[in-house]
Amino acid sequence: MQAFEYASPKTLKEAVALLGTRWGEADVLAGGTDLISLMKDYLHTPKRVVNVKGIKELAGISKTGAGLRIGAIVTVDELLNNSAVRAEYPSLIQAARGIASPQIRNMGTIGGDLCQRPRCWYFRTGNGLLAMKDGKSLVVSGDNRYHAIFSSGPAYFVSASSFGPPLIALGAKVKLTSATGSREVEVAKFFVTPQNESSREIALLPNEILTEILVPSAQGVKNATYEVRHKDALDWPLVTASVALKMKGNTVESAKVVLGHVAPTPYVAAAVERALAGKTINESAAEAAGEAAVENAKPLSENGYKVQLVKVAVKRALLEAVKA
């Protein structure tokens, strides 16, 4: 790890003043479960590390008139044990449970989950975010078993965020704050597909801190997350599906279906949403939704199996959502 300056501000105002205008000047440290390994591998070499764990404004979960406010430094474990979240947002709880390591649940934060870098093994071994070598993608010609099935390139990594898909399905926003003010961004627009090596996979700017997540009320919204996992112990899911169904009696008024680990961002399966409107969720409707979800899939040489996993994850997430 490269030597760095360490700051531990007590207020948000102090914190944003310590950030840089370009990536590489400063990194924000919360749980550190990703940042520290990025630094150890020299993938991030910030001149300054700004610890935000001591900033009260970023903490806590509270009910608001419109839904729920989750502070960015709320840990996965805090979220998992929060009664308001448990009561209304099973999709968030199921996503949190998928982070199958008590140590990471205790340290890792919700803000950190959204801001974490991709786990692509080409990126993590120093080949760059897009993993290009001599103008060719190492991913396309190499081992892409864990890579994107919904991408036209040049990025083929998958977003590793556990909470991105359910938050998008629930219509959540994130609040981003800089020294000059704050802005709210839909989580769906927070994730972006980088087109070149110098851009990032999230909309956060180098001078901003993700301060809170605003989740609309899920009253009357059936929601669930289903993860297909190779291992039950600590491991990244192979594919996830998060669904949020606004119901009218037994039929779906509107649906949101968002897939994880299949694209450089959480992937909104718009075709499924259209197909589900006005339907009653049962085994065959759920199965048809799964089929619709993979319409635009473009698997790479070694990840065709993920197409099948998407079908199953969507089907099972839908059935799980309407189970109760």
Binding site: Y122, Q308, V312
Partner: protein, 716 residues
């Protein structure tokens, strides 16, 4: 000649008891100090620079900036200009500095120019490796062509088991202080007594001036016998830094990349049988790689190829594939897992062709093994524990989303005791020390030694001070090949008997009988058959005056079979019970049953623990573990513990261990157990999955990807 033989089964007070391991609390509480916990005053940190290319020539290397880097005390060039590098991860240079971070910073300042050469790093598809595949053995017995023609059924299949890494939790490494006159060495090693000679040879420094100390090791599995290049370089760094101790441990990526792998094995297998299940012929074209030197032929057909009685008609052809990957090392039963998987998978596929229960096919063919009765009884016992008759269904009946299946794997191993010398000391205050230059790999060697000494001296286990992990103690073999328990138990037994004889000679006059009439039992020295005529242990030892007793005992492998304290030849059967989700391809372990014999068992609890560990490793190997090479860069893609997947507690299911303890096995003496139970699990799990889903998944580990592909091929 003193009587060394083990006390009869029903007379043992300490041996055969389920005593918890003596260092269990220290390990569980973190108090046990592993070699990598060694931190000394004035210590420097060593870091390696490794090559990022799989095949390259070093054109130039410039260490000048690293030498000037803050805190740097020594810099070594390991691969000078002109060196041809054969795998990514090859050691190129090393630095020692005041802090680990300073050493890492300095290593990054070393400038190396490489001429990159073409590489081959994947061997799964033989047709893609070109001239890297070289013929490496052919064999033919009987008349395979005729046998295939006459057979009632022939099964043909493709099978593969990949390279996997030892992935020791404590990586390879050491601390060394070498001032030119003496060398102090704290390695993480399976070879306490022998490693000084290995290091000394490389340094041209007398082994007698090297002291080795190791209290605990965090995993070796066959990969930690030698000093290795990092040990040699660590010594040179220390010397160059004026003799200051240097700590050099591999980081996780380097550990997974270069510190040991199990070779792969792939085969096209044709196997034939008669309607009654008799296997009549075997034909295989196999290939394997364990790095640049290729990979040897696993012993196939496994177990069912006993001399004279084995599968009569065989034709084998093997190719060794040379890859630009780090070399193989011994991996817990070298080549046996591969052989077992290839063989048992082919046998169960043949059983399916014959419309037979594979259990019956194995039973039908036990006469082709070296131990027909043992395998027959173990198969039956394992089947009973697995509820085989109730739960097993033919492959063609597989249906539903969640499908349960059962499968079998069979193992065999030697496990004779290695050379071992033990020195037992009885002091006038009654304390007892037992010294051996051995090591406890986590298998419970310390505890076993204490039990044998306690049994022999008639004392409780906690009265014995076991001293291992120093090369100043009497020479004891490396822990490989499941040879440790046989070696140390025999030498400890003999040393304790010899020490006791000396004590009897001193005590006999006071008890008024000849020394031959004395025995040690229940903390006393007493007259045989007359416990009333006795002296407490402490009082007996006081008779020594100021002179302690020292006596040694040696296990010499050549003469050990005559003495009967240890021998070789273990066998076992594993049955896996799995559930496969056919929509996702995810395999879940329900149960893994292990029936195992291993001669006289000194501590059933530790023996069972060994088997639990072996079963867990088998689950990892069957479902998760594989080294993944990138074709373009030639580097390991999963040199971490994120995508180098190992099972966690939720992935293991229930493990049922049955130790085959019987007078018949007991009379063979002690036999090693480290390896045999690690052999059959992968085959059993792979067979259970084939049984569950109705089709063979050709290659392990059985990832969702591979399971789904196999299901799709069947539907197509």
């Amino acid at each position: 000649m003193p009587e060394y033989s083990w006390p009869p089964m029903d007379k043992r007070r300490v041996i055969g008891k389920r005593i918890s391991r003596l260092d269990g609390i220290a390990k569980a509480s973190g108090r046990a100090k592993y070699s990598s916990d060694t931190n000394l005053p004035n210590m420097l940190y060593g870091v390696l620079l490794t090559c990022p290319h799989a095949h390259a020539t070093v054109k130039s290397i410039d260490t000048s900036a690293a030498e000037k880097s803050p805190g740097v005390k020594a810099v070594r060039v390991i691969a000078p200009a002109g060196t041809e590098i054969q795998w990514a991860g090859w050691e190129v240079a090393a630095v020692a500095a005041e802090t680990e971070q300073q050493a890492r910073d300095a290593v990054r300042k070393i400038k190396v120019e490489y001429e990159v050469l073409p590489h081959v790093v994947r061997e799964e598809k033989l047709e893609e490796v070109g001239t890297r595949a070289k013929p490496s053995g052919e064999r033919e017995t009987g008349d395979p062509d005729a046998a295939f023609k006459e057979a009632d059924a022939v099964s043909e299949g493709h099978y593969g088991i990949p390279v996997l890494a030892h992935c020791c939790l404590e990586p390879h490494g050491q601390v060394i202080a070498w001032d030119g006159k003496k060398l102090q060495y704290w390695p993480s090693t399976q070879n306490v007594s022998g490693i000084a000679a290995d290091l000394g040879r490389a340094l041209e420094f007398p082994a007698a001036q090297i002291t080795v100390e190791m209290d605990h090791i965090g995993g070796g599995f066959g990969s930690k016998f030698n000093a290795d290049r990092w040990g040699v370089e660590c010594a040179h760094l220390s010397r160059a830094a004026g003799g200051r101790p240097v700590k050099l441990y591999l980081d996780r990526a380097t550990e997974v990349t270069i510190a040991g792998v199990r070779p792969s094995a792939f085969a096209k297998i044709k196997i034939a049988g008669k309607k009654d299940g008799t296997i009549t012929a075997w034909e295989s074209e196999s290939w394997a790689s364990g790095g640049i030197a290729g990979g040897g032929l696993p012993p196939i057909p496994y177990v069912f190829a006993a001399p004279r009685t084995g599968i009569p008609n065989q034709r084998l052809k093997h190719m060794a594939v040379s890859l630009n990957t780090a070399p193989q090392r011994a991996w817990r039963a070298p080549n046996n897992q591969q052989a077992c998987f290839l063989t048992c998978a082919a046998i169960e596929d043949l059983a399916d062709k014959l419309n037979m229960d594979p259990l019956d096919v194995y039973l039908k063919n036990v006469d082709k093994t070296a131990r027909p009765e043992t395998y027959a009884s173990q198969l039956k016992k394992a089947a009973e524990l697995a509820e085989w008759k109730k739960l097993w269904r033919p492959r063609k009946e597989a249906k539903g989303t969640l499908r349960r299946g059962l499968g079998i794997g069979i193992n065999t191993w030697g496990g004779a005791g290695h050379q071992s010398t033990c020195l037992t000391k009885i002091h006038p205050d009654g304390t007892v020390e037992v010294e051996l230059g051995s090591q406890d790999l986590g298998s419970g060697t310390r505890t076993v030694i204490a039990q044998v000494a306690a049994e022999t001296l008639g004392l409780p286990v906690d009265a014995i001070k076991v001293k291992i992990g120093r090369n100043s103690y009497p020479n004891s073999g490396a822990s490989g090949g499941s040879t440790t328990v046989g070696g140390v138990s025999s030498s400890t037994r003999k040393a304790a008997v010899n020490a006791l004889e000396k004590l009897f000679a001193v005590v006999a006059p006071a008890l008024g009988v000849p020394a031959e009439q004395l025995e040690a039992a229940d903390g006393r020295i007493q007259v045989k058959g007359n416990p009333a005529k006795a002296m407490p242990w402490k009082a007996a030892c006081q008779k020594l005056g100021v002179n302690s007793i020292s006596a040694d005992g040696e296990n010499i492998p050549k003469v050990a079979p005559k003495e009967g304290l240890n021998s070789q030849g273990a066998s076992g059967v594993q049955i896996a019970d799995v559930t496969v989700d056919v929509e996702t391809g995810v395999v879940k372990m329900n149960r893994l049953i292990a029936v195992q014999d291993c001669g006289l068992i000194i501590n059933p609890k530790l023996a069972e623990s060994q088997i639990y560990g072996a079963c867990i490793m088998s689950i990892c190997g069957a479902l998760m573990e594989e080294r993944i090479m990138d074709p373009t860069t030639g580097r390991v893609l999963n040199a971490d513990m994120e995508f180098y997947k190992l099972a966690g507690i939720k992935d293991i299911g229930e493990i049922i261990v049955h130790l085959d303890i019987s007078p018949e096995h007991d009379q063979k003496g002690v036999i090693g157990l480290g390896e045999p139970p690690a052999v059959g699990g992968i085959a059993a799990i792979a067979n259970a999955v084939a049984n569950a889903i109705g089709v063979r998944v050709p290659m392990v580990p059985l990832t969702p990807n591979r399971v789904l592909s196999a299901l799709q091929r069947r539907m197509a």
